[in-house]
């Protein structure tokens, strides 16, 4: 155990992550379904980040960053798949974001995925170069 243990190392029956997993899921749902772009992006980032955190804390993975990266990839793949399946190719353009009901939501999901990939990637590299 490290010299300065975190809360959940000090106390075996405490973990800060569940609250934020739940909050992240709630915000993601509101953001995506109601169509609030910023809420969707930030909610998904919080959700993905908390999943990475809770998996690391409980020892299923060693470091959070690959999980964060993975969740980001999954979101982008999902968004892309829905776009190809449901949005006419001619309508897939940056200028159309904010007009169609589906495209804007998919862009929000993809944006959250991109941020997570960036965060996960940068943190991974920083961690490896620092070590």
């Amino acid at each position: 155990m490290a010299e300065e243990p975190g809360l959940s190392d000090q106390y075996p029956t405490a973990s800060p992550w569940p609250l934020f997993v739940a909050l992240g899921l709630a915000l993601s749902e509101i953001g995506v379904f109601v169509g609030l772009f910023p809420v969707a992006v930030f909610g998904l980032i919080l959700f993905g980040g908390s999943i990475a955190g809770i998996l690391t804390e409980s020892g299923y993975v060693e470091r959070p960053w690959p999980t964060l990266l993975g969740v980001g990839v999954v979101l982008i793949v999902l968004a892309a798949a829905f776009a190809v399946w449901q949005v006419p190719v001619a309508d897939i353009a940056l200028s159309n974001v904010g007009t169609g009901p589906l495209l804007t939501r998919l862009v929000a999901v993809a944006a959250a995925g991109t941020v997570m990939i960036a965060m996960g990637g940068v943190a991974s590299i920083m961690e490896q170069t620092a070590a």
């Binding site: 155990m1 490290a2 300065e4 243990p5 975190g6 809360l7 959940s8 190392d9 000090q10 106390y11 075996p12 029956t13 405490a14 973990s15 800060p16 992550w17 569940p18 609250l19 934020f20 997993v21 739940a22 909050l23 899921l25 709630a26 915000l27 749902e29 509101i30 379904f33 109601v34 169509g35 609030l36 772009f37 910023p38 809420v39 992006v41 930030f42 909610g43 980032i45 919080l46 980040g49 955190g53 809770i54 690391t56 804390e57 409980s58 020892g59 299923y60 060693e62 959070p64 009901p101 589906l102």
Partner: protein, 594 residues
């Protein structure tokens, strides 16, 4: 619109930075040492711990201890019960006069919708989860739930769910009624629920969806816990009755709630993205009713089986006799669980569905009365010639049996197609299911709260107030809901905000009288709940401390279950060390002054 987006972005960014900052403060991410399988505590780790839980509010926000989460569920459910109860009082006050006494039609419909959803999803399911979280691990001798963190996630999904379900009430004043409370009734029938453009409906649906996700996570956890975490002394033959009912309930949740979640997503897509799942040119409006009731009827048993388990557990303790026909109570639980998925269309007899299908649903609906009656006779036979002790939890158990008989028998009549066609959508239905949800489920919840109050709090409740609570509840319940049965026979339709009928439709004088009687009953019921709240709060703070690990004197009859043995061990461990942190549940800081 752009300005709004910028403000929202700013708010979200601040929230995210705040969360990250908080997490960095409380948690050292580099310190994690891998745990085997992500489980709770391993032996060598426990050795370096000097206190069990962090202090103050952080304890409650970060806890993954099943007992703390049980208490959180309990407090949440009682708050939701108060909200739903106040809504019920508004409904009853409205109906004192035929023209409606206090509310406009829209307000009435909003409150009616929220009352139903609040009581079923925010009170019913969580109060059961409260008992199950606290006591299943203790009853089966487990250290904790199988997945403690998932347990915490399931609870923390509920506060956002409640806020979303009630969102319309908060948002209507600030958005100049752009977002209003949903007025779909709790069944959310299409096409009404698709055509109400109000975004409050979307928020309510999202809240319901979250509560469904929470229930499913909890169910998976209970199944895994009961299957894998039992102590070696606990096998399937001697597993207690409450754990059996929770296991069956969790299986029902596993099959029913994901279906509700999917149906809600389809409804949201119909509302927001122009799909046609429930449109006439698509799946048709009746599809919603099939999907909803395929969830909705098992939901009734999801709500009633664990309370039956509570009664089966508590009633023998105060009868001085073991539960009569234990095996058959278990079998009937399993039978109800299976049959509950074959009765859903009895909610739809009057929709014009195929009569041959109707007949088969009638047969299964009548058949489900048999295992229910098995239980009822077993409870009565357990009390027969027993040494009855009429403590408050026992009174509530007996009240449960009594109300369940009335609620159950009225249900058998409704299962019959010809009777249903006359009584469908009348107050008879409302009276019938309220006998079950308030008279039975509510009563069992009270029985559980009083029975385990010493374990929750380390203190005893005030007996006289407890008994007053019971008698006011019993009398109030029976006046209110019996009057509703009579209103149904008179032809009073349910869900109406006013009832100024033509005399040819229904006898207005009698209808008004029974409505007034129901309101008087509701007031009595409400007063009873004030006794309850006062008793619980005051006793928790100031009640006499329980010194004995067997406050109900169960050892005499050889009925001291594992949870009270655990409680006794806690009291004994606490006595020499005078360390309040050892009695972790209840957060009683004053334990050390005894």
């Amino acid at each position: 619109m752009v300005a709004g987006d910028i403000v929202l972005t700013g708010l979200m960014a601040v929230l995210l930075v705040g969360v990250a900052a908080l997490l960095t403060r409380v948690e050292n991410w580099r310190s994690y040492t891998p745990l085997a399988g992500g489980g709770a505590v391993t032996g060598d780790e426990a050795a370096v711990i000097n206190r069990e839980k962090p202090a103050g509010i952080i304890r409650w926000l970060t806890t993954v201890d099943h007992k703390d989460i049980g208490l959180l569920y309990g407090v949440y459910a009682v708050i939701a019960f108060a909200v739903g109860g106040i809504m019920a009082m508004l409904i009853r006050l409205q109906l004192v006069t035929p023209a409606g006494a206090i509310l406009g039609n829209n307000a009435y419909n909003s409150i009616l919708t929220s009352h139903g959803i609040t009581m079923l999803f925010l009170f019913g399911t969580p109060i059961i989860a409260a008992f199950a979280n606290y006591f299943i691990p203790l009853l089966i001798g487990a250290d904790d739930m199988a997945f403690p963190r998932i347990n915490a996630i399931a609870f923390w999904l509920l506060p956002p769910a409640a806020l979303l379900i009630w969102a319309g009430f908060f948002l209507a004043p600030v958005t100049e009624n752009m977002i209003e409370p949903a007025r779909t009734a709790w069944t959310m029938y299409t096409p009404l629920s698709v055509e109400q453009a109000n975004p409050g409906v979307d928020l309510m649906l999202l809240g319901l969806h979250l509560s469904g996700v929470a229930a499913t996570m909890g169910a998976i956890n209970f199944i895994a816990t009961i299957f894998t975490e039992r102590n070696e002394e606990v096998n399937w033959a001697n597993l207690d009755i409450f754990s059996w009912t929770i296991l069956t309930q969790s299986a029902l949740i596993l099959f029913a709630f994901p279906l509700l979640g999917s149906a809600i997503v389809m409804l949201l897509l119909d509302r927001n993205l122009s799909t046609t799942f429930f449109a006439v040119e698509g799946g048709g409006p009746l599809l919603w009713q099939h999907l909803f009731w395929f969830f909705g009827h098992p939901e009734v048993y999801i709500l009633v089986l664990p309370p039956m388990g509570l009664v089966s557990l508590i009633l023998p303790k105060f009868s001085g006799r073991k539960l009569f026909g234990f095996k058959f109570v278990v079998y009937s639980t399993l039978a109800i669980g299976v049959l509950s998925f074959g009765v859903w269309a009895h909610h739809m007899f009057s929709t014009g569905m195929d009569p041959r299908l109707r007949a088969s649903f009638m047969a299964v609906s009548l058949a489900i009365a048999i295992p229910s009656a098995v239980k009822t006779f077993n409870w009565i036979t357990t009390m027969w010639n027993g040494r009855l002790r009429l403590t408050t939890p026992m009174l509530f158990c007996i009240g449960f049996v009594s109300n369940f008989i009335i609620g159950g028998v009225t249900g058998v009549f409704l299962a019959s197609i010809p009777v249903d066609l006359i009584l469908h959508d009348t107050y008879y239905v409302v009276g019938h299911f309220h006998y079950i949800v308030m008279g039975a489920i509510g009563f069992a919840a009270f029985a559980g709260i009083y029975y385990w109050f010493p374990i929750f709090t380390g203190r005893m409740y005030q007996r006289t107030l407890g008994k007053a609570h019971f008698w006011f509840s019993m009398v109030g319940t029976n006046i209110t809901f019996f009057a509703m049965l009579a209103l149904g026979y008179l032809g009073m339709p349910r869900r109406y905000a006013t009832y100024e009928f033509d005399g040819a439709i229904a006898p207005l004088t009698q209808v008004s009288t029974f409505h007034q009687a129901a309101t008087v009953g509701a007031v009595i019921l409400f007063i009873g709940q004030l006794f309850f709240v006062w008793n619980i709060v005051q006793s928790w703070l100031e009640g006499p401390k329980v010194e004995d690990g067997d406050p109900w004197n169960l050892e005499r009859d050889g009925m001291l279950d594992r949870e009270f043995q655990w409680f006794d061990e806690q009291l004994e461990a606490e006595a020499p060390e005078k360390d309040p942190s050892l009695l972790a549940d209840g957060g009683e800081e004053e334990q050390d002054d005894s």
